[in-house]
Symmetry: C5
Subunit: 354 residues, 5 copies
C-alpha cells in the first residue's frame, strides 16, 4: 500500500457523505463506553446502543461517550443521528486516512488527528485515528481499536479531581489531546535516542547497512512529520473557534498545548537534519577508508612495478647482455633497487601520502 | 514538444479572444450532451446544435450541458454566444494548455483544470482539460475527448438522488470536481506504490537503469505537481466568490474538497522526497559495491606484486647469484613469500579492510 | 562585462535625473513613429521632432508615439519635456539596465521591462529595454533599436479592429505587453525543447562537453528568470494603479496577461529543475560507466596477477627446484592456473560483479 | 538522552499544572536573594522563606527576588502562591526544557529563555533556564543554579546608577536580558573564531578527524540556534504586551535588544554556511589529494607495465627466438624501452596529467 | 577575529548607552567639517569644536556637519549633547559593528549603514560605518576615517545646483545614500567580473587552487550580502517615517534608491548561484579528467597483464615444456598476443571506453 496515502477503497463517484469504512479493521466488536460526571458524582458504564445515552442528555452533567471501533459504520451512523452530526463529518470519522483537521460547526467542534503510541514490546509505533466531537455538554470520541492512552485521564475523573470534573467537555478534550501530544514527544524522544546512538557507530565502525538504516529512520521521521505537523495548526485554531463549545477560561491551556506541538515539530526537524548529517558523515568515513586502501595499493604498486621491471630485464635471455657477467652485478642491482624503493618512500612521505 | 509548456500554435500578436484551437485533436466529431433535471424528473439527450438547449432556459430545472471536443471552435463559439461568455474565457477553453484557474464573472463562475485518468490497460496517465462554467441554472462543461470519469455522477442523477437533483449547478460542479480530485489521489497512489516498490529493488540488486527510471518517475511526479498544485488554490477560492452562483449551503463540501486537494499535494511532495532518497540510496549502494570490488583488487595486487618481484629477482640470469646454488633456497623463498602474504593479510584484517 | 549587472557608465555622484545613456548603442539614427487613430480613422507617420506631435494633443484620438533609439538623449529629453515626464523617469528610460518596474504618476503610468526576441537566424536571444508611458490619450513607447515584435499590432490598428481602435492607450499597452509576454513563452519553449533534447543524448552517449552545455543553458535560464520574474509583479500591479490611466473595463485582460506571466515563470522554474536533474543524471551515467571500466580492470588484474606470480616462481633459476623436473609439472601448472582463474570468475560472478 | 528534547520525566496524563521538576539537579540548597531599592536607598539580603518578602510588598520600592535552584518545587510553589502565579506558569519554571517564550498575564509578564555562559576553564557552554516574572513592582527571577552573569547588574544597582534605580522592574528585566544576549554574542564569537581557524588547517593539511570536528561544531551551532532563535520573537513581543508591566518609555531599549538578538541569529546562520563550505572544501581537498596519488600510480603503471611485458618476452625460453642471438639486441631493447617511456611521458605531459 | 561578528570589546553588563568605541581606530585626529548653504550662498569650514556650529542653528540655511573619526568618543558625546541625541543612538555610532538600521525619533531620523569603497590600488574592499542623523535643518554624518566617496556631492553643493541647495537635509541624505548604493553596485560589478572570468579558467585548465579561490569569493559575496541586504529594508522604511524630517516631495527619489538596493541584492544572489555552479563545474571537470586518466591505466593494464602472463609461462624452466621446442612457437606466441591485444582494443572501443 502506498505509504503516504490512505487506500481509497471508497468507490469513486459515490455521493459525498456515504459512510464506507476505509482502512484496516483493527478489532472485532465495537465498544461504547460512557462516563457521566459532575463535581459531585461520576458514573461509568458500557452500552450496546448509542440511543441508551439519551438519558444523560437533559442532565447538567458532563458526558464523555467513547466509541472504540469505527469499522462498524452502523454504530457511527446512529451516533451521528443521535448527535445530529453532518454526513461529511461522519465520513471523516470512518475514513481512517484523514489529515489532522478541525472543523467548526454551529453546535460543536470536530477535531480529527492521529494518536500515536510506542509499543514497548514490539518497538513499533502504533497509529490510530482519533476523532473528537466537542459540544457544550457532550464529548464524543471515536477510536479505531480498543486500548488507548487515556487511562490516566479516566483515573483523574474517577478520583474526583476538581478541574476535570467541573470545567466541561472542552477541558476534557484538552486533557485527551495533551496526552496525545505527550505521546508524540515520547515517540520522538525514543526515535531521537536511537538516531543519536547511530553517531557512535559512525565513528567506530560504520557498517554497510547504515545508509539503509538511516533511510528507514528518515521514513519514520517523515511519517511522524506528516502526522504531527498539521496538529500544530489544528491546536492553534481551537481557541479561535467562534461557537460556544470552547470556553474562554481554557485559553491558557490550549496555548500551552500548542507550545508542546511546536516543540514536537522543531524536534522532528532537528532530527531530519541530524539524519542528513549522519548520512554525509557516513559517506565521508567510507570515502576516507577507501582512500586509505587505495593509497596502500598505489604505494605498493608504484614501488614494486619499476623494481619488477628491472628484474625482468636481467631475466632476458639475450646472448649478449654484458651486466650478467660482472661479478657484483647482482648485488649492485639489489642495491639500486633498495635505493629506488627508499627514494620513493621518502618522496611519498614528503607528499604526506602516508 | 516542450513538456512544461503548451505549444502556442496561436500566431503571436492576434487580438485577444481570437479562438484558435491549440493542442492535439483527440476525437473526431464533437458531442453535445444535455441532462435536464429537477427533483421530479430527469431527461437526457444528445443535441447537434447548442441552440437547441434554448428550450431549457426558462424552466426551473437544472441543466448540465457537456461538450466533448473543443477542437471544433465553431461549436465553442456558438456556446459562448448562447451563454454570453466573454471572448477571453472561450480562448481559455480552446487553448488546452491552461494553468488551472478560476475566474469570477458577474453571472457565472469559470473554472478550468486538468482531468487526469489512469488508463489501466496502457499504464499511462491520460490528461485532458476540463472547463466548467457554473451559472445559476446551467452547468456547462467542456472536455477534450469523449469518455470521462463522470459516469457515476450521471448514474446518481438518473437514479434520483435527492441532493444532486435539487442542490443546483454548483453542487453538481462540486460532484464533478470531487471525482476529478479522487482521480488525482488514485493516480498518485498508483505511482506511489510503484515508487515504493523501487526500494526493494534498491536493497536487492540495483540495476544500472534505476537512475533513469527514478528520473522518469520524477518527471511524472513533477507533471502531476504542475497540474494539481494550482487546483488547491482554485478550490480554495471557489467559496470566496461573490457572485450568486456558489450557494452558501455548499461551503462545507468545498472545504472538504479543498482538504482532498491539500492531501494530494502533500502526497506528491512526499513522493518527491522519497525519489530523492531513492537516488541517494542508489548512489550509496553503487559506491559501496564499487568499494568492495576495489578492495579485492587492492588486496590481490598488494599481496602478489611484492611476491612476483621476489620471484623476478631469482629469475635473473646473473652469473654470480649465490642464493641460486644453496640447496634450500627455493623452499626458503616459498616460505618467505608465504610469510609476507600472511603478514599482509593479517595487517589488512586489522585495518578492517575485508 | 558583468552579466547580472548593467555597466554603470554613469559617473558616480551625478545629480539624480541626469540623462546619460548607459548601455550599448544598437542603432544609428533614432526614429519617431506616430500612429493616431480612433474608431473612424487612422493616420501613421514618421516625425523628426517630438514637438510635431503637438497637433494630436487636443484631438479625441488615441495617439501612439514610438521612439526607437534611446541613446540620443536629446530626443528623450524633448519627449520628456513635451509629456511633462519627471527627470528620474527619463533616467530610467536611457539607462538600459533597469529591473522591470511600474511607477504610478498622477497623470500617467510608467512601465519598463525587457523585450526578448528569439532571432531564428543566429539562434540567439535578443534583449532590448521597452519603456511605456501610458497617459489617458497618449501611449509613448521607447525601444533601444529599430525592429520589434509589434508589427501585428500595427496591422490590427490599420485594419480597423474595433476594440484596439476604441479602447484607449491602456488597451493598446496591454496588446503590446501581451505580445512581449507571448515572446517570453516562445523563447522558453525553444530553450525548453533544446533542454529536453539533452535527455536523449544523456541516455545514449553523454559527451564530456555536456556539463558545460548544461551550465550554459542554466545561465540562459537564469538570465530569462531575471528578466521575466519581476514582470509578474509589474503586471499584477497594473490594474491596482489608482490614477485614471488604466480603465476598469480592461481588468479581465490584465488578469489574463498576469496568468501568462505566471505561466512563464513556472515553466522557467520547471526547466531549472530539469537542468539540475540532467546534471545529476550525467554524473550518475559517467560514474556508472567508470565503474564498469574499473570492474574490468579489477577482474583482469585479480585473475592474472596471481597466475603471473605462479609462472614467475617457475621462472626462477634455483639449482634445486624439484617441480621443474617432473614430467607433467608444466601441464599440472597450467591446469592449476585454469582452476584458479575459473574459481575466481565464479566467485566474482556470485558477487554480481559482472 | 535525546539532545533536541528534554526528557519528559513527568508521568504522562498528570493534570496540567502538576509541579514535578524535570531536568538535572545542578545545586544542593536553593537560595533566595532579595534586592530592594529606589533612588534613595538599596538593601540586599538572603531569605530562607519566600513569605519573608511580604514586607516589601507595600513599599514604593522596586524589589528583585532571585531564586537559584528550581529543583526544590516547594519553594517554587510557595513563591507561586505568594505572587499569585498560575499553575501552568510554575510548571514551565520547574520543567527546565522549555522553548523560550513569553506569556502575558493580567498583572505580570512571564518570560522564559536559556541563559548561556561560556566557561573559560573547561571550554564548554553552560546552559541554564532563566524565568522572569515582571510585575509592576517586583521582578522575580528563577535560575537553575548558583552563579550567574548578573553580578555587573547588581553592582550597578548598589552603586546607585540613576536609571536602574528608578526605571522599574521592566528596565531591570531589560538589563538582565541585555547581559544574557551579550553572552549569546560572546559565545557565538568564541565558536566563530574556532570555526574560522579550521580554514587554515583545511588549506594546510586536513586531517581525517576534520569532518567529525566540523560535525561537532555543527551540532553546537544547531543547539545555539535552537536556544537563540525563538528569543528574537520573544523580545519582539515584549514591547507589544498590553498589560501595564512594560512601560512605554523603555521601548527604545527593547528595540535595541531585539537588534542584538537579530544580530546573533544572523551570525549563527552565517556560521552554519561557513561550516557547510568547510566540509565541501575538505571533500574537495581530499579528492584532489587522492587524484594526485592515483595519477602517480597510473603513470608508473602505464609506463612500466608495457616495458615489463617486453622484458618478459625476451625472458621466454623458446629454442627459436632469433632476436636473442643478435649482438645489439639487448641495447636495442633498452633503447626501445627508453623511447616508449619518454614517449608516454611526453604524451601524459601534453594531456596535463602531471 | 570572528568575521561575521564585531568584537564586543565593550565590557559586558555596562549600562546601556555607555560610550565605548569598539572597532579598529582608522585615523588619528577626528575632523569636523561644516557646510552651510541655501539657494543663495554656501560656506564651508573646518571646526575644532562641535559647539562652534551653534551659529548656524537659527539661520534658515541647510547645515551639513560631517565628523570623520568616531574613536574619539568625547567629540561624539559633545555632538550628541548639542543635537540632543539619545545615549543609545550614540552607542550605535561608536560601536562600528552595527547592522544597518533606521530609527525614527521625534525630531530626527537616524540611519546607520556600511559604506563600501573599492580601493583600486590594493584591489581590496574598504568598509566603514556611516551614521546619518537627519533633522529638519541639519544633516549630521559620522564616518570612521578621513576620505570618502562624497566629494562629487560637495562639488554639486559648491557649484550651486538648485535642487541640492534648496531641497533640505533629507535630499542631501538621499544624495549621500545614492552614492553609497552606487558604490555597492560598482563593487559587485568588479567582483562579478572576476567571478565570471573564472569560467574561462574552468574550461581551459582548472588549477587545484580554484576551489579555495571560489571559497574566498563566496566569503566576499557573503560579506557584501551581510552589509547590503538590510539596506534594502532600511531604505524602504525611510519614506514611511512619520516625523517631519523626510519630506513628501522626495518620495520618488527614495523609491528610486530602493530599486537600486533591490538590484544590488539580486545581483549578489545571482553571483552566489554562479559561484555554486562554478564549484560544481570544477568538480565535474576534475572527475572527468581523473576518469580519463583511469581509463588509460585500465586499458594498459587490462591489455598487458594477460600478455605478460603468457610471456611468463614460457619463461618457466620446466624440463618438459613442449611448445618451447617447436620452431614457430615464438612467432605463434607473438601473433596470439597481437590478436589478444587487438581483440581487447576492439572490445573496449565498442564499449566506448576511449
Amino acid at each position: 500500500m502506498a505509504r503516504f496515502l490512505n487506500k481509497t477503497t471508497k468507490q469513486q463517484g459515490l455521493p459525498p457523505g456515504t459512510l464506507i469504512f476505509s482502512g484496516e479493521q483493527k478489532m472485532e466488536q465495537p465498544l461504547i463506553r460512557v462516563m457521566d460526571f459532575n463535581l459531585d458524582k461520576c458514573s461509568e458504564r458500557e452500552v450496546d446502543n448509542v440511543e441508551e445515552i439519551a438519558e444523560y442528555e437533559d442532565t447538567a452533567t458532563i458526558t464523555w461517550v467513547n466509541i472504540d471501533g469505527v469499522h462498524e459504520v452502523d454504530i457511527v451512523e446512529k451516533a451521528g443521528q443521535f448527535f445530529k452530526l453532518s454526513a461529511l463529518l461522519l465520513e471523516d470519522v470512518v475514513n481512517t486516512g484523514q489529515r489532522p483537521k478541525i472543523i467548526e460547526y454551529e453546535d460543536f467542534t470536530f477535531i480529527v488527528l492521529k494518536m500515536l503510541r510506542f509499543d514497548e514490546k514490539s518497538g513499533k509505533i502504533i497509529a490510530e485515528q482519533l476523532s473528537l466531537v466537542i459540544s457544550k455538554k457532550f464529548l464524543l470520541t471515536f477510536q479505531e481499536q480498543r486500548g488507548d492512552v487515556f487511562e490516566p485521564i479516566r483515573e483523574r475523573i474517577r478520583s474526583g479531581r476538581k478541574r476535570i470534573r467541573s470545567f466541561g467537555p472542552d477541558f476534557l478534550a484538552y486533557c485527551l489531546l495533551d496526552v496525545v501530544c505527550e505521546n508524540y514527544i515520547h515517540i520522538i524522544e525514543v526515535l531521537g535516542e536511537q538516531i543519536e546512538d547511530l553517531e557512535e557507530e559512525l565513528l567506530d565502525d560504520p557498517k554497510k547497512e547504515l545508509p539503509h538504516q538511516i533511510n528507514r529512520f528518515k521514513q519514520e521521521i517523515n511519517y511522524l512529520r506528516k502526522c504531527i505537523r498539521p496538529v500544530r495548526e489544528v491546536i492553534a485554531r481551537i481557541p479561535k473557534t467562534e461557537n460556544a463549545t470552547i470556553k474562554k477560561h481554557s485559553f491558557e491551556y490550549w496555548r500551552d498545548l500548542q507550545e508542546l506541538a511546536v516543540h514536537a515539530n522543531e524536534a522532528i526537524d532537528s532530527y531530519r537534519d541530524v539524519l542528513a548529517d549522519h548520512l554525509n558523515l557516513y559517506h565521508t568515513t567510507m570515502s576516507t577508508k577507501m582512500n586509505d586502501i587505495m593509497k596502500v595499493l598505489t604505494i605498493f604498486a608504484a614501488i614494486f612495478i619499476p623494481l619488477t621491471f628491472i628484474a625482468g630485464i636481467y631475466g632476458t635471455n639475450f646472448e649478449v647482455l654484458p651486466e650478467l657477467h660482472y661479478r657484483y652485478s647482482y648485488f649492485i642491482m639489489l642495491g639500486f633497487m633498495a635505493l629506488v624503493a627508499v627514494g620513493m618512500l621518502i618522496y611519498f612521505r614528503k607528499q604526506k601520502w602516508f
